[in-house]
């Protein structure tokens, strides 16, 4: 979606490609002029020649790679000649995208040609960027980090990683932080789907999309709530439109009439932040008409009665008042969902990025459970993840609250991973600050989250549950402009002692601070310049070939990690099991290492060899089921979607649909996970009389331990070696995989067979509740639906709720501000705005305003306006008057950066590396607000005011 008016030339030509473009443009200009026109055209042709990729007759190497822009995981063929990426051909045989690409995927080749990269290590010295050698850069950065560690302890340095890492790099980064002695590491999943992972995993076991994109072909109804795949996951739309053509009912519930809504059978406009009330409103009609799947609930769901009680408080008139949706529309949607089963629900940031995110995600799950849609083909909670590897980076634990595989931070978890790493526990402990703070010992306490590093810097030291505030920040593949509270962020950056940006592009972090010293830029390679595995939204792992060598002086992330680890003195421990060639750790060895420990989520069967086999046999997989129909891996599912149980030798085919009991576990079937104990208040939490196909246990059962195996008489089926390894262990900690192998042989799921739960007794709201946003325009609802009390120490930081909601901002800031994506850009947009093919399509930052409101404010289309958030962050953007948004809601895309409160930061970029398109960051105007379980930031509801900008 875009504004109509655009510049006919790239803006602000700097160095690099712009100069070339300038030359080439002027060549074209003179070519058209009298002389050349008169004398024929040969002159012009010559002058033009330099611009395009040279035509080469050198042999073509074909590389198979995967788009790095979103989690759909589209495959593509890259044609390389003499090291130059000269062609991109659609992979029609790829089972996910069948050759299809959106604007970003179709321009992947420009990654091999973009010159607006960060080209060599640099540091900011006296306000000037100075070029460094890698040795010098590592030396200086390393010394500074060691100095900070000595002075303030290991928790003073924050390791902000990335969802753009490969699985191997993400895992290595988490391990790196552990070796450094801190849990202050995180990545974008925190501000993406953390509330989903927490909410969904706590409902039925795993926090991931339950079905595959391809399986959506079988859906009879698809409810999109807070999701806009046409812009955020365009290739998913291929599957969704196939479903639609097969008769599926497409329902879009959103504050905006999105491009997805244009393809829907039914669109419902929702007030931002009222998702729980909306879902309860649907359930009210479902329960009222007896449309719920009673048998399914009886057998597989715990706590639905408590939901009924809560839902009873949301009759149609209450729902209309809270959500703005009429009784008729509520009934209509409820009936569509009830009549068209199996159906799936799809949600994205519109559901997750709220203070109440965990409530929202659980409410969606409960709706699906009530309809009996989970664990069946065509049903499911199809949560589309964001970045290409945000699922993988989450699974591999690049988070402040867990080690890889969701093992958590308990002593047991450290022992498990310490064993795999081959390290002495005492050494590991010695790396950490062993003092006890408000949250406990830092080694076992959740670290500060990416959403809150700002407060980790700015908060008074005595309020932070660690030795000091944050002093050094590594932004390792992170777009700071995708985070809220831009104004305070700038302040925090000013207070740091060290800023290190490791990225293929300088990113907004390099320019938005007001510093003149203490900033380092280290150029990282893109995912096309290295190799490794990547997990897509439907849990399939895909192997990427290295397409080209790292451009300029960039190095792959894992190599930079090695260099730093060496400097910081723990390379020997960190790379104990990993071969290092020169300075580059062997990617396959990293895969093999995490294969050894990721039992919980079944990342154990996906050896590099198997993944490469899948990569080479794209054409054998079915577009409908993702199962290989022929070839060497016949019967396996594409990308071995986790859980892929046991070790690689067991050859588990992967699990295409989670909790699908119609298949044996051996063939990808599954039950709900027994994760929350066996009983609650005297009621069993285990499944009631249902089990997966061919199961030897014909009822619910808890998760498997060595003890259970013995009781069942299955112990003897283990080999002697396995027995030794499995003794006293369970399915998660038995490093031999024997327990998993044996129980799967018996048709059982290693993690047990339980009910999904509607009540999460460990969460602030065990049954999801509607709570008004912190910055709400509906003061009348605050009393009845108040937010939580402030928290003293939560992920090491005080977190505010009530004290913000108490104050009424709606008078001065009457408009609701929400944000979202554009198809041309991704995330903070630094990379995509540096691609001329994409940048040309979307040249200006804008705010969508409803025509009625625009008229009221005296604003015309294309006027420049100031949008001021409730915390006084101001952005100067172009008005786009459109009925997409409702009367009182305004929308801004969040991909822009490089302008700050009306001021261009162009000149602060290292020469020649500024993106083609700069613009105000929407998040300069967004405000405080964090989820009560995961510290997810609130980006979807806040308050703002808009006024016409003069001049």
């Amino acid at each position: 979606m875009r504004l109509t008016r655009k510049s006919p030339t790239p803006s602000e030509p700097g160095l690099g490609i712009s100069r070339r473009q300038f030359l080439q443009r002027s060549a074209a200009t003179t070519g058209g002029l009298a002389a050349a026109g008169f004398m024929g055209n040969t002159m012009m042709r010559r002058a033009d020649a330099k611009e395009k990729t040279l035509v080469s007759t050198a042999p073509i190497e074909i590389k198979r790679t995967v788009c790095s822009h979103c989690s759909v995981g589209c495959g593509t063929y890259a044609e390389v000649q003499e090291g130059v990426w000269t062609g991109q051909e659609p992979a029609f045989d790829h089972p996910v995208n069948r050759g299809a690409h959106c604007a970003k995927g179709a321009s992947l080749r420009e990654h091999g040609h973009s010159t607006r990269r960060l080209k060599y290590p640099m540091k900011l010295e006296g306000g000037q960027w100075k070029r460094l050698s890698w040795e010098q850069a590592i030396e200086e950065v390393g010394d500074k980090v060691l100095q900070l560690r000595d002075k303030y302890g290991p928790d003073s340095v924050y390791w902000l990683g990335s969802a753009k890492f490969s699985n191997e790099q993400a895992y290595l980064m988490r391990k790196f932080a552990a070796m450094f002695g801190t849990n202050n590491t995180d990545h974008q999943a925190r501000i993406c789907h953390s509330t989903t992972v927490a909410g969904v995993a706590n409902t039925w076991g795993y926090g991931a999309m339950t079905n595959s994109l391809n399986d959506m072909h079988n859906s009879k109804s698809i409810l999109f709530i807070g999701s806009n795949p046409t812009e955020a996951h365009p290739i998913a739309m291929q599957h969704i439109l196939i479903a639609k053509e097969r008769g599926a009912n497409i329902i879009v519930v959103d504050p905006r009439f999105t491009r997805t809504a244009a393809k829907a059978d039914k669109f419902v406009r929702l007030r931002p932040g009222s998702d729980v009330a909306y879902i309860w409103g649907l359930l009210w009609h479902i329960f009222d008409n007896g449309w719920e799947d009673k048998e399914y609930i009886d057998n597989r769901v715990y706590g639905m009665d408590k939901v009924r009680e809560e839902v009873a408080a949301f009759p149609p008139e209450v729902v209309e008042s809270v959500t703005g949706v009429s009784k008729e529309d509520m009934y209509d949607v409820a009936k569509r969902l009830a009549d068209n089963r199996p159906g799936c629900v799809v949600w994205c940031m519109g559901g997750t990025q709220h203070t109440t995110g965990n409530n929202n995600t659980r409410a969606y799950c409960i709706l699906e459970l009530a309809l009996g849609n989970i664990g069946v083909s065509g049903g499911g909670a199809n949560i589309f993840r964001g970045h290409d590897n945000v699922q993988g980076a989450t699974d591999l634990g690049l988070m402040s609250h867990s080690l890889p595989g969701y093992y958590g931070l308990s002593e047991g978890a450290w022992q498990h991973w310490g064993e795999i790493w081959g390290l002495d526990q005492e050494w590991l402990k010695s790396r950490f600050d062993q003092t006890e703070y408000a949250d406990g010992k830092p080694m076992y306490a959740n670290g500060i989250t990416v959403s809150r590093w700002i407060d980790g810097v700015l908060e008074k030291e005595e309020n932070i549950a660690q030795r000091s505030s944050l002093k050094g920040m590594f932004y390792w593949g992170h777009a700071v402009n995708s985070q809220t509270r831009g104004v305070e962020m700038q302040k925090a950056m000013g207070q740091l002692e060290l800023m290190v940006i490791v990225d293929p592009y300088p990113t907004v972090a390099a320019v938005m601070h007001d510093r003149s010293d203490g900033v380092y830029l280290l150029p990282a390679a893109t995912q096309f310049e290295t190799t490794g595995s990547v997990t897509n939204t439907s849990r399939s792992l895909q192997w990427r070939d290295k397409v080209i060598e790292p451009q300029f002086e960039a190095l792959p992330d894992h190599e930079i990690m090695y260099l730093l680890a060496k400097k910081l003195g723990f390379a020997e421990q960190m790379f104990k099991n990993i071969q290092v060639n020169g300075n580059e750790p062997l990617v396959e060895d990293i895969t093999r290492e995490f294969n050894k420990g990721m039992w919980t989520v079944g990342y154990t069967g996906q050896s590099p060899e198997r993944l490469k086999m899948h990569q080479q046999n794209w054409h054998t997989f079915s577009f409908e089921t993702l199962q290989a129909e022929s070839g060497p891996i016949k019967g396996e599912y594409y990308g071995l979607p986790w859980p892929c149980w046991g070790n690689p030798e067991m050859a588990h085919p992967g699990t295409p649909l989670l909790y699908d009991m119609s298949k044996p576990v051996k063939e990808g079937g599954l039950t709900f996970r027994a994760r929350f104990g066996v009983e609650r208040d005297g009621e069993s939490l285990l499944a009631d009389g249902v089990f997966s196909k061919d199961s030897d246990l014909n009822d619910g059962y808890p998760e498997f331990t060595a003890e259970m195996l013995k009781q069942l008489g299955w112990w003897e089926e283990l080999t002697d070696e396995e027995k030794t390894a499995a003794e006293g262990k369970n399915w998660k900690t038995d490093l031999s995989g024997g327990i998993q192998r044996v129980v799967i042989d018996h048709g059982c799921a290693p993690f047990g067979n339980a009910k999904a739960r509607c009540e999460v007794w460990t969460f602030p709201d065990p049954i999801p509740k509607h709570r008004e946003p912190l910055y709400t325009p509906r003061r009348d609802l605050v009393k009845e639906y108040p937010t939580w009390e402030d928290m003293q120490s939560f992920y090491r930081l005080p977190t505010l709720y009530r004290s913000i909601q108490e104050e009424d901002f709606s008078e001065r800031y009457p408009l609701t501000l929400t944000s979202g994506r554009l198809v041309e850009y991704e995330g903070g947009g630094e990379e995509t705005r540096s691609m001329s093919w994409l940048a040309e399509l979307q040249q200006e930052m804008f705010v969508e305003i409803n025509p009625e409101m625009a008229k009221e404010l005296g604003i015309a289309n294309d006027d420049m306006v100031w949008v001021e958030g409730a915390e006084q962050g101001r952005v100067r953007v172009k008005a786009m008057v459109t009925p997409r948004v409702g009367r009182d809601v305004v929308f801004m895309p969040f991909h822009f950066g490089g302008m700050f409160q009306g001021k261009s930061l162009h000149d602060r970029y290292p020469e020649g590396s500024a993106p083609y398109v700069l613009g105000e960051s929407a998040n300069t105007a967004t405000t405080y607000g964090y989820d009560s379980v995961t510290q997810m930031q609130e980006t979807k509801v806040t308050l703002c005011r808009i006024e016409k900008a003069t001049a």
Binding site: T4, P8, A34, G37, M39, G40
Partner: protein, 346 residues
């Protein structure tokens, strides 16, 4: 006096070219008319009937393209093409060739209009050097623009098949260059000339008589005329109207930097073509009279002087007034130049 042969040769060439153009035009336009509606419909499937209507007419749209001043469906493009290719091109060719044919027939039947009486040898200044310079500059520009214009319209049917792309490419590029750069110059010269000759071309009652008697082209009658006769005045006012329209439409097309829409350009093009082709046809008549058609006319614009006899026969009123005002007795010149210049009754 110039040789009669040269213009004759020139005429023959022009005639041949015009006939060829006419023929190719007839062939070119005999192909089937396009159906843009059908192209659009087959190109975009899955749209409802209402969308179809919208696609052709709506202004409520968003475009990804940097320069999106062109709406999705250019409904008028095909109309323009039909007007241009079916009517304007052949029409223009017919007009030009038709006028040429008429002139040839006229010439063969009537011949050169000679002077009734012998020349006295005494001359009168008719056109000053500046005026002649203006005339010939304008004439040269006119001919260049006419030829390049005709080349833009018909050249592809003639020169490309005749000489091949190696010749055609620079020729047509040069054509466009000449046409686009000389066009504005033509406008400036035209306006200067129109201003210069405004007073002598103001219409008078006796012009009606002149027209009633057909300017005396046929027969022996010599309707009275001032400095400029009815025919000259007609030509003047044609240039002052159609000529200016052609200039203005040309400028609109030549400077596409003010956001002109496609529709504007189409209309400008049609008006420009009709106007200029019409002017060319009339110009042929003007050229005929000024050269072959009338004895002594060419001299006037060549040397600036006309013979007394000629002046008397064709511009009696002017002749009388000038002679009355003359101070000196006629010698070599019938009237001194200053008087001739000062008295131009219309």
């Amino acid at each position: 006096m110039t040789s009669v042969l040269t213009p004759l040769l020139w005429y023959r060439r022009l005639l041949g070219l015009a006939l060829m153009l006419l023929l190719t035009c007839v062939f070119a336009t005999s192909t089937l008319a396009a159906d843009p509606e059908a192209e659009i419909k087959q190109a975009i499937g899955g749209a409802s009937q209402e969308t179809w209507q919208d696609i052709g007419s709506t202004d409520d749209y968003i475009d990804t393209r940097a320069d999106s001043s062109y709406n999705l469906i250019n409904a008028s493009g095909e109309t323009w093409r039909q007007i241009r290719n079916t009517w304007v091109s052949p029409g223009g060719a017919i007009a030009i060739v038709g006028v040429l044919a008429i002139l040839i027939v006229f010439y063969l039947v009537v011949g050169t209009k000679t002077l009734d009486e012998p020349r006295t040898g005494r001359l009168i200044l008719r056109w000053t050097a500046l005026e002649r310079a203006l005339h010939w500059t304008l004439a040269t520009l006119f001919i260049l623009l006419a030829l390049t214009g005709l080349n833009l319209l018909f050249g592809k049917f003639v020169f490309r098949p005749l000489f091949g792309d190696g010749f055609w490419a620079p020729m047509i590029a040069g054509t466009k260059f000449v046409h686009n750069y000389l066009g504005p110059l033509f406008g400036i010269v035209l306006i200067t000339m129109l201003a210069k000759w405004l007073t002598i071309n103001l219409p008078k009652k006796h012009d009606l008589t002149w027209f009633k008697q057909g300017g005396g082209i046929v027969g022996k009658a010599h309707p009275p005329a001032g400095f400029a006769n009815g025919g000259e005045k007609g030509w003047y006012w044609l240039l002052a109207s159609v000529g200016l329209v052609v200039v203005v439409t040309g400028l609109v097309m030549d400077f596409p930097i003010f956001g002109q829409s496609r529709d504007t350009m189409q209309w400008m093009n049609v008006i420009h073509a009709v106007g200029s082709l019409g002017l060319m046809a009339v110009a042929l008549g003007h050229i005929y009279i000024g050269t072959l058609g009338m004895e002594g006319a060419f001299d006037a614009m060549k040397s600036g002087y006309v013979d007394e006899t000629w002046a008397k026969q064709h511009h009696s009123l002017w002749y009388e007034e000038v002679m009355n005002k003359a101070d000196t007795a006629p010698q070599e010149k019938a009237v001194d130049d200053a008087t001739a210049k000062a008295h131009r009754p219309n």
